[in-house]
Amino acid sequence: MLENHLFSYIFKSRQHPVKIFTYTTSVFWLLLIPLARKLYLLRFDVAEWFRGDWLDIITISLIFGFAFLRWFFITFSIDNESIKTGTGYFGLIKSKFNYNNICSVTCSQGPFYRFFGCYKVCIDTNSDSMRGHDVTLTLKKSDFKHLTEILKEKNVGKVKYSYTPKKVHLIIFSFLFSSTLSGVILLSTLMIEASRIIGRQLEQRYLIIVNNRIQSFLTINLPPIAIAAASIIVIGWLYSLAVNLLRHWNFTTVRQGDSIVIRSGFITNRENVIMRDKIYSVDIRQNFFMRMFRICSVNIDCAGYGKGRRQIAVLLPVTTKREINNSLKILLPDYVRPHKKLKCRFRDFIGFTTPPFLLGLAIPVVSYILWLIFPDWVVVIRFVTFIAEIPVFWLIVVKFASIFTTGVGFEDGYAVLNYCKLYQFHTVTIPTEQISRIDYYQTILQKWNNNCSLRIYTYSEKVKCHKVKNFPFKQALTLLENQGYNMKVK
């Protein structure tokens, strides 16, 4: 009877009350501190306090009132077959997630949540969610334990296989996969915000300090703006390195039964429970130096894993070419690694190196035009041209090396795609049933050489396109035809 009663809503399971604070936009709740301080100064004379700050009090009460209502209306229930949630405004969106459709469950606990004893849990299925994860809940310890017990119940008593990388490997991984861009964005935002508050003194002071320090040990004269830009890039990269290192510290992968549990983190602890049969591709990544030193990083494609901001869907952070087969056998025993059947020919190196070569030629032309428009900026333009040519030259080297690695192969229901995307070499192994479409195309140069490129579309949570370039046209068509992809149109 109570189930159908309107008041039964009060007794439903809800998230941890600390979620109310995160529902108040950003750190708005910090406004409570000056209000409380004023109340203390007025020796808790509430009437006087309310008379003076009535607008602030009402505004903050409304913010907290809305946050409370949002928290109150978001409900969930965990049973042995599914998780039911009521989300959205007034809890109107009722969803039911069956455990056999769940691909991954990501749990994290930062210092703030650790203090309050709660966990952030993200649940994902293969459906393409517009909001990031399919559902995100902040659970109390008891609810969290209940959920993890159900998820791990099937695998209790089964043999555990674990893989823990060496700390040196984690440092190398963080070093190699740090993105300068995210750090630069953070630092630039900090500078802009600081300039808004205290004027441009901070920015000018920063430029003077950096300029003096660098000029003291550099013999050549560099424009101050170039030094500032370079220093921002270096600091941004260092920030990204630190974040990456903290995120992947204590990294451990454990396979037990049909699930893989990946734990990592130093300040924020993370645990990802991944269903093994929901891993749709394995991507072995290398850059040029990793290739030289015969090391690689193994990533996986599973809905929800590596989905968050600045997260990488890594299974083995860094491993040697020698160890990779053993590690993959332990963690993904069903996976087959086919051999390349179709390779590109050395004489087609022009097809690989022409686009970066043209880019390298375009930069001086653009610089010359800029110099004609802004003749006073000659020093800056010359410096930027020189800096921009370095990555382009490196791209030519990488693309040339990719001639020896690019290829496609099919074996035992799996396909292997070896290709180079920008500066990174990929070896993607994917079940052929995940391939939704294959295109081939020929540029004018390829038509002349009797070559073609392939676009292989695979589907999982999202459709992905893998471009594998410059194969002999006839051999490519024959290989695809042998695999049941008849490309002839009558």
Partner: protein, 147 residues
Amino acid sequence: MKRYVPAKMALHSIRFIMVILAVAVTILSYIFFNNHNIIMWIIIGVCWGAVILYGVFFIPLYFKKTVYNISDTDIRKKTGMVFFSKQYMKVRSIQYVSTIITPFSKLTGLNFIIANAWGGRMVFCFLTRDEAMELSSHLDEMAKNNS
């Protein structure tokens, strides 16, 4: 194969909501743009024009043309206001089902079902409450068997 169409009462509810919103816009523009007559009349004219155009022509057309066909293997949807589209989804691709039942939806017909599937979703709008519950449990039962 089962056939579902949007409920007529939802059409009346939408028309009612549109009229309420138009009245609110009229009052607000009268209060805030009383000194700028031209702007006030433009806002009121555009607002009521949209209400009449959508309430009389486009939305009834949408309700008339929208059809959902559910079989054991696939779901088909035909919808549109001016340009019509047909959508097709395999039942085995459904991952989970979300249901939006608004308060007083027995009277308003504002019930929605979202079938979240591999790489996409299909939304069933404006079903009667009974049809929405029936469809939701049917799709949910089918999602249970998918992995």
